[in-house]
Structure formats: C-alpha cells, structure tokens
C-alpha cells in the first residue's frame, strides 16, 4: 500500500517535470506549425510509456539502489573502515589507504553508466544515424569506462585535496588536442556524451560518495570539496569516446592494409 502511494507521488512529480516539455511541443505544434502529427495516437501512447517507465524507474531506484548505495558510500569512507588496513590507529592516513574507495568509485561509475537511460537513447540514435558503424554497446562501454576513470580520479582528488580546476583545465586541453587527431565523424557525439552520462542513476550515488568522502577526510570541507565529481564524470567520456573511435579506425586501417597485402601477394 505504501509503495502504491509512493508510486503515485512519484508519478505526479514525473508528470510535473514532463509538463513543460509537453506544453512547449504541443503549443508549437498547434499554434506555429499547424499540421497534424502523424500517428498521433502512437506518439501519445509512447509518451505515456515514457512517463510511467520513468516513474517506475525512479521509484525502484529510491527503494532499492539509493539507500544501499548511499549507505555503502558512507561505510567505505568511514575512517574506521579505512583504518582497518593500517597498523596503528594514530598513524596518519596516506592517500593510498583509501584504495577501496577508488575501486568502488570505478565500479559504481561504470555500472551506473551502463544503466543510464539517456545514454541508451543517444547510443540508439547514434547507431541509427551512423548506419551501424557506431555500435550501441561500443559507445556505452566507452562512456562507462570514461565515467569510471573520471570518478575514481575525482575521489582521489578529494582525498589529496588538489584544486579541481587543475584537473579540469588539463582535461580540456587534452580534449582540444585529441579533437584534431580523432575521426571527424565522432567529435560531436563525443562532446555530447560528456553531458548525457550524468543523469538519473549516476548523480545521486556519486554525490553521496563525494559528500561522504569530503566530510570524513581530515582538512576537507564537504561544501567545497564534495562537489566536482560530476564534472570529472562528464569530462572523461569525451576522451574515451574519441579514443574508441581512434582505435576502431586504426584496427580497420590495419585490416585494410593486410587485405591489400594478401591481394598483392596473389
């Protein structure tokens, strides 16, 4: 019963979130474009599916994943847990003592990205537009790897306390340089994948990890150092997606060369 009323509340708030989009789309459709939408009934049913699906998804996350994920983030960043691996209690902690935090950050970053609905949407579209050249799974795995690396580097930054803008600025410089060597077709998609990775699933868990870590590491302020993980998670996918395209292109070029050599020998 409680779950049902919760579902109802979430459904209402999802509808409230989607309302502006629906008003804008149908407002422009009716007042500016003034043309009937093809397959209107199908489109409307699709919208209902999207809203119901999103509400169920959020309800499930709220009930199942977020409580346990946030609890784990707290437990893993708890000084008592981290001290367990250090011999004496009064010894100051070295950044390397936090290794479980980095491993957790990597694993949770990768796994939540795989389940991110907006990334699935972009991957489907990219696959369709590129005529199958960009695989749905290839793109999703490349982005997941980027988020994983980004978040574990971000947690390391919180532990060590280096200023965030050093990392972000060097990341940007790297992205700009890599752009000139990456296949032209992938560049806009790679830039996009920075922004799509972090929505419904990743943000709450990652925010809990960052805030938990910043409030337990001595000398860090949760308010100043707790933020910034999302920024890392949106920077690194650009690098890995371009890297994915560069590697696929290299492999394809090598195969082509091999085939030509075979033909020449014959």
């Amino acid at each position: 019963m409680e779950t049902l009323s919760q579902l109802f509340t979430i459904l209402l708030s999802t509808i409230k979130d989607v309302m502006p989009i629906i008003v804008i789309i149908f407002g422009f459709q009716l007042l500016v474009i003034r043309r009937p939408i093809p397959h209107l009934k199908r489109v409307l049913i699709g919208f209902v599916y999207v809203i119901v699906g999103l509400a169920l998804f959020l309800l499930g996350l709220d009930k199942a994943l977020f409580p346990i994920g946030e609890l784990m983030a707290q437990q893993l960043t708890d000084p008592d847990f981290i001290r367990g691996s250090v011999a004496t209690a009064d010894e100051t902690l070295h950044w390397s003592d936090y290794y479980w935090v980095y491993i957790f950050a990597f694993a949770i970053g990768a796994s939540t990205t795989i389940a991110e609905p907006s990334l699935i949407a972009v991957a489907i579209k990219a696959n369709e537009v590129s005529g199958g050249a960009i695989g749905v799974w290839g793109l999703r795995l490349a982005v997941a790897l980027g988020v994983a690396v980004g978040i574990s580097l971000g947690t390391w930054r919180i532990v060590t306390g280096y200023p965030i803008h050093w990392f972000i600025i060097s990341g940007y410089i790297f992205v700009v340089i890599q752009t000139f060597f990456a296949p032209k077709l992938i560049v806009p998609l790679a830039y996009d994948s920075g922004g799509v990775t972090t929505s419904t699933v990743t943000v709450p868990l990652v925010a809990a990890l960052g805030l938990g870590l910043a409030s337990t590491v001595p000398g860090r302020s949760a308010l100043i150092d707790g933020f910034g993980l999302i920024a890392f998670a949106s920077l690194f996918p650009m690098i890995t997606v371009m890297g994915y395209a560069q590697i696929t292109e290299m492999v394809a070029a090598r195969d082509r060369r091999k085939r030509e050599e075979m033909v020449n020998k014959e």
Partner: protein, 244 residues
C-alpha cells in the same frame, strides 16, 4: 498483439542485462568488502523489479513517442523555413526543460548554502531562496541560449570543435576570477542540467534538423546540442557567483 509482447519481453531482457552490473557491484562490496548482510532484501528485490520494468517502458516509449516527435518537429520547422520560430522553439525547449529540473533545484539549494557560509549573501532563508531561484533561472537561460547557439550551428554547418574550444577558454578564464566556493558547483552544474527526457528529445531534434537540411551530415552536424547545453551553465554559474 503478440508482437507487442515479444518486443516488450525482448526489451525487458535488455533491461535486466543493463542493470546486472550495478547489482553485482553492490553485492560484491556489501558481502565481500564490507562483509555485511543485505538489509531489507524484499524491499531491494521489489525495487529492482520496478527499475527493470521502468527502464523497459521508458526505452519502449522512447522509440514510439520521443524520437518520432523530435524528428517530426525538426522536419516541420525546416520545411516552414521560419528562423524566428525555430529559434524561439529551441530556446523554450532548453529553458522550459531545465527550469523545473529536480537535480538543478537541488544543486541551486546547495549553492545557496555554500554562498551563505562563504559570507557572499546573508544567512537567512529568504536571502538563500532568492539566491537559489536566481541561480536556477540563470542556468535555465544559459541552457536555452545553448540550444539556440547549437541550432544556429546546425543551420550554418560551423565546425563544433572551435566553438567548444572557445567555451573552454571562457570557462578557464572565468575560473580565475570566480569565488573559490562556487567553482565546484559551477563545474557540476554543467552535468546535471540535461535530464533523461530532454536528452532524447534534443538529440532527435538535432539529428532531424541536420538530416532535413541539404548539405548537412546528421552525424557531423546533428549531434552536439547536449555539449553546448552542458558547457554554458558552467560559464553562467561562475558569472552569477561573481556578480552577486
């Protein structure tokens, strides 16, 4: 009718596969690393079932509703050929979907707390809430602007990397002048503004526009709107922190 069930069943299997990694990671850390029992197993399992069903419906509805409508609108605007209405639509889409975004509301509230603690504003509730809503409208405006710039880029066929590089340079310069407290939040705000429904819609719009204008390649010109939408909030949030 049976086709619908086959399709639903297939995407359900896909959703299970998509969620499996999270379940494995959580189980491994809970049982092996932290060595604790799983609390509330029944709640966890019902929750997971909801997530699987929800993801299935979402993906199903995506291809039925969101993608087609984005495409149809893009084609209709391209045929109509009115730049003004297209740009107004682009702006309202960016602004309207961002201003009500729950993640943004949460981040704006955090930012107000930080600002109050840093002594930038008074530590009263009314000062904080006006700071937070000011920030929210600033970010929403910046996303609207980003979609407009992105659409103009698609129409003109400008290469994206120069524009993004200019954006980065602006972010870097602003970082030097913005109050230290706001920087982390500003960088994060780029990532949180693009919601689960906005992304498919905006992507379909971009690809639809690029494919209905002659001489544009949907792969090269169609993508990139999200990139602008995650760049401008950083600049505007830092500017907001500097002005207030």
């Amino acid at each position: 009718m049976s086709n619908v069930f086959v399709a639903l069943g297939r995407s359900m299997a896909g959703s299970v596969r998509d969620l499996l990694p999270i379940v494995l990671v959580i189980a491994f850390f809970q049982l092996m690393v932290l060595q604790q029992p799983v609390p509330d197993l029944v709640g966890l399992l019902t929750g997971l079932l909801c997530v699987v069903a929800g993801l299935t419906f979402f993906i199903y509805g995506l291809e039925m509703g969101l993608f087609p409508i984005g495409q149809v609108l893009a084609h209709a605007f391209a045929r109509k050929g009115s730049l003004f209405w297209l740009l107004l639509f682009a702006f309202s889409l960016g602004f309207g979907t961002t201003v009500a975004e729950p993640a943004l509301i949460a981040v704006a509230a955090e930012a107000a707390t930080v600002a109050a603690e840093g002594g930038m504003i008074e530590a009263t509730d009314s000062a904080k809430s006006s700071y937070a809503s000011g920030l929210r409208y600033t970010v929403a405006f910046s996303v609207g602007l980003a979609i407009v710039v992105g659409v103009i880029r698609i129409l003109k066929g400008w290469p994206i990397h120069y524009m993004i590089a200019v954006g980065y340079v602006m972010v870097i310069i602003m970082t030097g002048f913005a109050p230290r407290e706001i920087i982390g939040i500003a960088y994060d705000s780029g990532g949180v503004t693009t919601s689960t429904i906005t992304v498919p819609l905006v992507t379909a719009l971009g690809v639809g526009l690029a494919s209905s204008i002659e001489g544009r390649n949907p792969m090269v010109d169609g993508f990139g709107l999200i990139a602008f939408a995650s760049l401008t909030p950083m600049i505007f949030v830092m500017a907001y922190g500097m002005v207030i």
